[in-house]
């Protein structure tokens, strides 16, 4: 097998989506399985390791590998087959959620699980086994996959089905066992391109959780925005959304042009400039004001409202403002998402927000979601809730922010909670060992079998020491 060159022209500075950490690496964008194997061969010859990367949408360091060969699968982006009768789509792993919905929605099919942005690749979605706002009823992305092709570092290649135990090990393994090169997915049938969306204001933590419990047997999607500046009786206030697929067939709404987000905000302001405005507010007083204003709107004019919203607009909130992460420059931001069993969730999340306020490092955005268990090896999900938080990173707050995160880690672990590789930046090796438990031992055993030379790694894997 021929190897590819290790030229300085391949060198690039890459980061996770949060841009809080950067790494220099040799980036390869193969288009075939043979080229993937050639990258492994080059790594072997040059004594380096390989890190897998999709669209680079993991927030932390799961998709970076300092001085490694980074295998970026974004050029493997062909939809190989599409059956509009059954909703089964067969794709290369570089296909994104956006490619999928643009291809399938007109025929009445929508990805069964989507993230808050449409840009991740299937390979990335499966490596992290992502969830969406419907995790409590539809599970993770991996649960809708019929089969996958995996290229291993030792040159082997196999197709895994949901009946194989290895299927549940490779999906969720953060790209540390093998390269997922193709996936066959069962899409979800939709009659309309819109969702029926209900917005309800929650005045405190009790109301937040009561709303989730009320709608969990009925709604197709549930999510709540949490305002992290609220104290005392106002702590945990936010806006809850539940959404349902309408039964009424609406062909017009399924066309991509009905889904595309408008380029102008309020009809006149170019969205591409919006991050520059956001940057002015991207500080503690600014975000306190933004959160307060959003709360005021949510609890008055936006309360108890039911409206129809395009699937894209409801699902991909993060894509509303292009380049929004630039508002956090130059230090970037970290996303912190912890998953806590339902019986402890309210107490743990209330304590998390209280700790943030004590440190004066409130999250600028809080998102509460409901989850269920799954049987993937390195899963993040629990039968409970998750709270996702965005923290701005600066030179001055960095040490204190990590200290805060470690305190929150301890809270979550004590409550039997879990973490999510796609969003992690702060876990310590002992934290990962605690929440993964036996699964970590099993993962290491599988890794020894499928990647005997230990070629696959990432900055995250090295940081939390889940690879030898």
């Amino acid at each position: 097998m021929s190897s590819v060159d290790l030229s300085v022209d391949r060198l690039d500075r890459i980061s996770g989506f949060g841009q809080a950490e950067y790494a220099d690496a040799f980036v390869y964008r193969p288009t075939t399985v043979e080229e993937i194997h050639a990258v492994f061969e080059t790594a072997r010859k040059s004594g380096r390791k390989v890190t897998l990367r999709g669209a680079g949408r993991s927030y932390g360091d799961a998709n970076t590998g300092a001085e490694n060969l980074v295998l970026d699968i974004t050029r493997m982006n062909r939809i190989l087959s599409w059956d509009a009768a059954t909703g089964i789509v067969d794709c290369e792993a570089g296909v994104t959620i956006e490619n999928l919905w643009r291809h399938c929605l007109e025929d009445g099919w929508w990805p069964p699980v989507v993230t808050g942005t449409m840009y991740p690749t299937l390979g990335g979605l499966l490596a992290m086994n992502v969830h969406g706002k419907n995790n409590y009823c539809q599970g993770t992305f991996g649960e809708h996959i019929l089969d996958i092709d995996v290229a291993y570092s030792d040159g082997k290649f196999e197709t895994l089905k949901a009946s194989d135990s290895r299927f549940f090990e490779v999906i969720s393994s953060a790209g540390l066992l093998g390269v997922i090169t193709r996936a066959k997915l069962q899409m979800h049938h939709v009659a309309s391109g819109n969702l029926k969306v209900l917005a309800e204001a929650a005045h405190n933590w009790d109301e937040e959780f009561a709303l989730f419990e009320h709608y969990e047997n009925d709604a197709d999607y549930m999510v709540s925005w949490v305002e992290c500046f609220g104290r005392g009786a106002k702590a945990g206030r936010g806006q809850f959304h539940a959404a349902w697929y309408p039964d009424r067939v609406d062909l017009q709404s399924r066309k991509p042009e009905s889904q595309d987000l408008p380029p102008l905000l309020m009809g006149f302001f170019p969205k591409s400039m919006m991050w520059k405005v956001l940057k002015w507010f991207c500080n503690r007083p600014g975000m306190r004001f933004v959160n307060w204003a959003k709360w005021m709107a949510s609890s008055t004019i936006g309360n108890h409202k039911i409206h129809e919203q395009p699937l894209v607009a409801f699902s991909f909130l993060l894509d509303y403002v292009p380049d929004w992460r630039r508002a956090y420059e130059p230090g970037g931001f970290i996303q912190y998402q912890s998953f806590v069993p339902k019986e402890h969730a309210k107490r743990v999340f209330a304590e998390q927000v209280r700790l943030q306020q004590e440190y004066r490092l409130e999250s600028y955005l809080g998102v509460l979601k409901r989850h269920r268990r799954d049987k993937f090896l390195l899963t993040h999900a629990v039968d409970g809730y998750s709270l996702a938080l965005d923290f701005k990173v600066t030179k001055r707050n960095r040490a204190r922010l990590w200290e805060l995160a470690h305190k929150i880690n301890d809270l979550v672990l004590k409550a039997g909670g879990r973490f999510y590789f796609a969003k992690d930046s702060t876990l310590r090796p002992e934290d990962a060992a605690t929440y993964l438990g036996e699964a970590l031992t099993q993962f290491k055993e599988v890794k020894r079998q499928v990647d005997p030379e230990g070629l696959l790694t990432s900055d995250l894997a090295e940081r939390i020491e889940i690879v030898d």
């Binding site: 300085v8 060198l11 690039d12 500075r13 790494a23 220099d24 380096r48 300092a66 001085e67």
Partner: protein, 240 residues
Amino acid sequence: MKHKTAIIIGASSGIGREIVRILASQGTIVAAVARRKPMLDELVAEFPGKVLAFEHDVLNTDEVPELFLEITKQLGGLDLFVYNSGVMPEVESSEFDFQKDMDMVNVNMVGAIAWCNQAANRFQHTKHGCLVGIGSVAGDRGRQLQPVYNASKAFLHSYMESMRNRLCRYGVIVSTIKPGPVDTDLAKHMKMKKMSARQAAEICVTKFHKNGEHYLAFFHRFAFYIIKRIPSPIFRKLKL
């Protein structure tokens, strides 16, 4: 400004050695590159886990590309590169020794090109980094005593200026530092007031992240501002 990783070429003694010490004590992982391995080993022992020693003679330019790759791999990146190697053999005022001159050309110039080209090429792709050349006030003017040393440092200044103009568009900082007499092996035959190597290194470290040419003392900046402007017919009559 804190650098996570650094390479110092010419790290076994003088300013280079002190730069390694200062950076390592600030938490930077430093690759110390020099000919004299035992002296590098002392640094490794002094800062375990922070200093990596690489034995290399800058005359062996063929080794550079591979060694550079190996060092950056071991460091896990590169934020700062300092070319500090330099020789200045004692040259009499009537002496024209080709071998001594070639030594200076090879160490002060050829070695600098071999290493700095590697660093510059990398920084151009990674779009960050500080490239530092340790020049000398001697390069500011062609003086009687050290024709080739002066010329080699003048070359370095000009070479670094070109690098600066090339790389600034990629967000790379190129800094030229011009020490005056410093109490090191290089200047042991010079009988004049000298700055200690430690003091020089401490000032150097504050200049790494600043684009441009930097003197270590205000007096030098002032004096060489004037010296550079003395007309040639007058300058050749002076004993400078």
